[in-house]
Symmetry: D2
Subunit: 446 residues, 4 copies
């Protein structure tokens, strides 16, 4: 039996439902347990919390972990490397099958705990261990886990390095190479370079944007774009609505800062805004209070929107859910006229987000934009930069780490193929040093 096995459980054939199991001798470490939301969305009236894992597996919504049947007892740890749902969203459905702790950075761990609490079918009793970027954890006598700081579109994202006697495996899902982040520090380049010098057996890496030329702009650019749009206008009296990813704390902070500079009161609207902002406050990524109103429940949201109409829309900068046109989100409710907020000619709606390219999102966005435009709104789309590394960022990381083996994960054949070609440019060979895995397959190393 090979000493190391990389088991592609989910996310190797698609964007979403990430899960990789790394076998080291007889021990198994699971990396991420995510959900694939577009597979949930195409089933109307699906209530994920109340669905059994087997149904969700049949829908292709969560990883099919039957590949671990028979070796479940060998699982020693479940590691979550950041808090997006495509990395932690299946924890509440699958983790209870394994008698192993869940290890994550503080922000991510807090979100994992919330997922577990919201679950209605399964009782998840796994211990949740908080490990900071830069810290190490001895999983077994032979396996040491290390978290290495990196940047992404959510805070407290890390690479996970598994140090074993057979070599080091670096799990890099997801990341961007941001040298001027607006929240937190740049990636820990010294440690990454050092790892490269020490030698890395295998790099498991996302490939989402591997087909996009150049490098991903820094979050600083996104902040500048947002500020340029918010403050660059001669029509300062109009209403402004901003919508962005509720988990993107750095972006939200940039918008709040702009609001203060503009003399408008920032206000966060929507249940998931409340959830992620609360998590950020608890874990030190955002300050409590400071005059910021946060309205989660519908009643509070509606009251706040009504107050804006009374006091004047130009006094406020509401930051809300709904950038993908999600039917129940605040922006959609405003577009439908279901709240007392009246959109008038010249009001500006700023989407500080790209459209996640799924047909349902495009349709929902089209619907909400059409309704807003019919009321006179002006649309500012895609005031945003991505949180995923582009082709030349991958090039740099790959050369910095210089692993013996590379395994593209978190992508589909298209993005994996793009990554393969870039790896070939620097000498990797398909089947020898770079490996395409499909969900359910295992790669043996050593």
């Amino acid at each position: 039996m090979s000493s190391i096995g990389i088991m592609a459980v989910g996310g190797y054939d698609e964007i979403g439902r990430n899960m990789t199991a790394i076998r080291v001798g007889n021990d198994i470490i699971i990396m991420d347990m995510g959900i694939r939301l577009d597979r949930v969305q195409i089933h109307e009236d699906t209530d994920v919390e109340s669905l059994h894992s087997s149904d969700l597996i049949a829908m292709g919504a969560i990883p099919d972990d039957s590949v671990l049947n028979g070796v479940a007892s060998k699982v020693r740890a479940i590691v979550c490397t950041h808090g997006h749902l495509d990395h932690i969203g299946a924890v509440s459905k699958l983790a209870h099958k394994y008698r192993a702790p869940i290890i994550a950075t503080p922000f991510t761990a807090d979100l994992v705990n919330q997922e577990i609490k919201a679950e209605r079918i399964f009782r998840v009793n796994n211990e949740v261990i908080s490990l900071r970027a830069g810290e190490r954890y001895q999983v077994t006598p032979d396996i040491e886990l290390e978290f290495i700081r990196v940047q992404h579109s959510i805070v407290d994202c890390v690479f996970a390095a598994l140090h074993t006697k057979h070599g080091t495996i670096l799990y890099a899902n997801d990341f961007k190479i941001d040298r001027s982040p607006t929240l937190g520090e740049p990636p820990d380049f010294p440690r990454l370079r050092q790892l490269g010098r020490e030698g890395v057996l295998a790099l498991i890496t996302e490939t989402t944007n591997a087909g996009i030329s150049g490098k991903t702009p820094s979050e600083q650019i996104a902040k500048d774009l947002v500020w340029d749009v918010l403050m660059g206008t001669e029509e300062t009296e109009s209403g402004i609505l901003v919508t962005t990813f509720s988990s993107h704390i750095a972006r939200i902070k940039a918008i709040i800062e702009a609001a203060r500079k503009m003399g408008r009161k920032p206000i966060l609207l929507g249940r998931s805004m409340e959830k992620y902002w609360g998590t950020a406050v608890r874990t030190g990524y955002a300050e409590r209070g400071n005059g910021l109103a946060v309205c989660g429940r519908r009643k509070a949201v509606d009251k706040a929107l009504k107050r804006m109409m009374v006091e004047g829309k130009d006094k406020y900068l509401p930051i809300m859910t709904g950038h993908q046109g999600e039917p129940g989100a605040i922006l959609s409710r405003i577009a439908n006229g279901e709240t007392e907020f009246r959109v008038e000619s010249g009001d500006r709606v700023i989407f500080s987000a790209g459209i996640i390219p799924q047909p349902l999102n495009m349709s929902n966005r089209h619907t909400v934009e059409t309704k807003l435009k019919m009321k006179g709104a002006r649309i500012y789309d895609n005031v945003h930069v991505s949180g995923h590394a582009c082709r030349e960022d991958h090039w740099e990381l790959l050369r910095m780490i210089n692993p013996e083996h590379v395994i593209p994960s978190h992508g589909n054949l298209n993005s994996h193929g793009q990554y393969l070609m870039l790896a070939e440019d620097t000498g990797y060979k398909l089947g020898y040093s770079i490996h395409l895995l499909r969900n359910g397959q295992e790669l043996l190393l050593g």
Copy 2:
């Protein structure tokens, strides 16, 4: 006879060869005389300097000014509002037909003079008058010309206002609403707002990007992107080639600044780099000397490229022509191996420009990129922001000026149609207050 006529001579059916004639009573003022380069390009071995205007008109390359036959003697001035070839490139072919001075800002006027000097068929004797942004010029006792500062992807760009007893006509071709330009001042908003309050009879406006949502990012964003790409790398030893628009002085200055920060010697390569940089130095937009090498002629370029190979590619930051893959440009010559500069694996080629969306440009770009990649180059594409106003910039200008009539120019039916819909959003009506003209047509006002 109507008191005012707007005559669409060229650029109303296409991007390129802009020319508008404004009739005020019996006097005519011409705005811009441009060339349409893609119509030149599809004819191999075309030497524009040696072609007669009638041939160029037949090719659709320059405006068909036969609409002015019979009234040529009424032309009182030819106004050029910025120095791009689609606005001044036909001056050398058409201006001699009119006994009228050419009026332009200093930078533009210098370029017009160079065009005239290079012409081989026609002797152009028109006086070239230099008028600064903010200044006025009495064209006839009844017509006063005013230049108003604005921003674009070339320096010294202005709107031209014609003040007549029948009302003011504002010619806005081309522009961006940049509140944080890196060279020069923001558009003269106070004057524009004042014009709006005084009343404007007609706004003639470009529509290039009217179909693009939101606002065009500031040139400051482009500078940040360029710096991020140039300085954000762990591989600091590799060669870096940058290519950008040679007329884009602000961009070139940003790249030069970055070079100095990186400890690399900036060097401008290519005949047209030399031409525009020289013009910028003469007109005060760039400083002479300061250690910057500028190589125009082929021999000087080749010598400079050879020196880089000898002294080390990592000592230099060459800024060169060729961003559209133009066959004779420096970047193409390097890609072809026609110079002593050797592109090696990991060398970076930065296109600080978008592809002008013509099939020939796409083909040329594909060719040069393919050759560069085969040598191991890493490509950074589109490190750039546009110089044209997007939809919401147009919205703001239109509401600020609040003209009685709007005439989309410098665009095709697609971009004009996009502009029309945005104008309708704020109350304009097709055929009543917004007018679609086709090349050769005249709109009568008043």
Copy 3:
């Protein structure tokens, strides 16, 4: 007052909700009264039958006929030129405002009557007059209506010519130039050529496909494509589901014929299949009986699907609704597993239809295809040809009719712009002989 006015009521800014009012002296003839379904669709849970016209107008779903306020009593006839909902779907909401008969070909008239019967808000008492292609009807002493045979994707489609003392107006919405139709005769070219020779004052024409190069393939090509797909397989035992436009009688007949050749029993499934097929039988476009089962109500459909599972899927060729992925349609219900029909690996689903390019349709299609593929279905998409004239078909019609004036209708600025350029190729001039109207505008002629 001008003798002729062309009033653009709806469908001039968009695809859908067609309505044109033609004023001849003091009399008004309305052409078509359609609905724009994508505007209905973006409002969830909209029940059109129970909505008031004013709400539907506010939604942009039906034509805003307020332009006819004050002259409603002058309306002498409402003419419907074919039976698609974007041409007749607003009759039940608007016709009652006008004391005028509705005139349509027999198939169209039958559909109009069904629309009126289904309406729940308004009582529509207008007489419905059936007029055959080739026949004439004296609307007023001065206005004679003539129907001229043409082809489209629905049977019994006509051009409407209004003969007046001021000239003839030809309304050509919608059509294709099909010389080898599979149902009915080719367009009446001799009459069209004769009209061209006699002189036509104005041609009002659709422009849907004016931007598509060449000519639209004949329906015979669609039939060949369908047969090729249905019969061209070595796997003859698998289940086959076909979905197509329920109003496309010619296509359905081609599929039924194929079924018989294959030795499979054809069966029509879905309420709207039943509706249109019944109409075709009543009006002589299809034969009653002949062993064809037609199941409209859900219970009958479910029973039929169950029978197929019992007797063998390979015995049947079900033809069903759902080609746009409409949530309630039969195909979606099968994809959801809501019927007893089991899709198995290798079963073939044939979409004899294109996707109507609206984001919601794309999303719905993606949803239904994803579910079908997850069950193992093989997808045959777009086994179809369009029912709309392409660019060269328009060229031919325009030159055949040679009208003094052309008015593009039933399209948006993009398709109208494409038509304009083609009309310019043969000598028409914007604003002189070809006119762009926006909803709500009137063009005066003569």
Copy 4:
């Protein structure tokens, strides 16, 4: 050592320069030796006939057969399965390295001989053996080659089956599943089904259109489309120019037939028209004479074009080279006004071909179309169906053959990936039963 090796020499990373070497024990059979024309095209003034193989390999234009260094003496045969240049175009540059006969069907063999004769650098002395579809050839005592009839966009195309004691390998490059071809017989399904029953070790297959839904329409559909366009017009007096692939004998015959039905004289124009038609006549795929004029040399072409102007364009149906806008081709020369053929308003230019999606082709096509349109031509684009199998055709072949292993060839990562997913649908597993190879790699079987 494994008993069977599949060596990917060229065409596995790209469309073009196909070459596969199949090792059976110690013997090697080469399948195809093609050229990649887009790699030639990007180098201006490249004269392939005069270039050495090593230069062409460095350009990526022909397969890099260095993988066969050391085993060249083991090559027992070079098999060419059809006559397109991406399958035979490198024979003249590479075949002389191997002491082995070239085996091809009569039409292909004739083309191979012409390639060899035109070569200016290498003397190619390999015997060229003609083998008909349905026939077998004993290559070595252990290896028997069988040609199986199939359809493609060129006549006399075959699958090559290698029967060995280790099993049968089926090489299927390129093909379409055409059940109603207009020239020749449908694919030999009985033999293919029999092969499937007997057992096939490995299927090597093209994937060009594997990403396109459904099945490729029959050539009969293309014929119907061409006839519909040619004959379906009321403007019968205008000039008509047709351009298509000169190697597509079936298409050319369909056009000639149409010409006769229209009462126009068909005439083939262009060197490569003459070459392929001559080959078709020699090999019995076309009849000599029959009143068809064929003009290859420029002088003859120009004379013929002049004659058309004298006698009347409506008397002729010229069929010519230039569908990709190739600069020297007849259509480009006509567009440039370099011949006496005058294109006038209403003349029709029919492209019975798709654009091969390379940027240079798109640019060339744009250029020639622009010039033709400026002269008044009407363009009929893409009157064509593909010669490559679409997704469901691949599905059927794969299930019919039911091979133990599948190796996608002749495609890039994108089309191979599409094929992989379809193969997975019917049970194949990446790395186990379906294998992605990159140029230069060898797959060991058995």
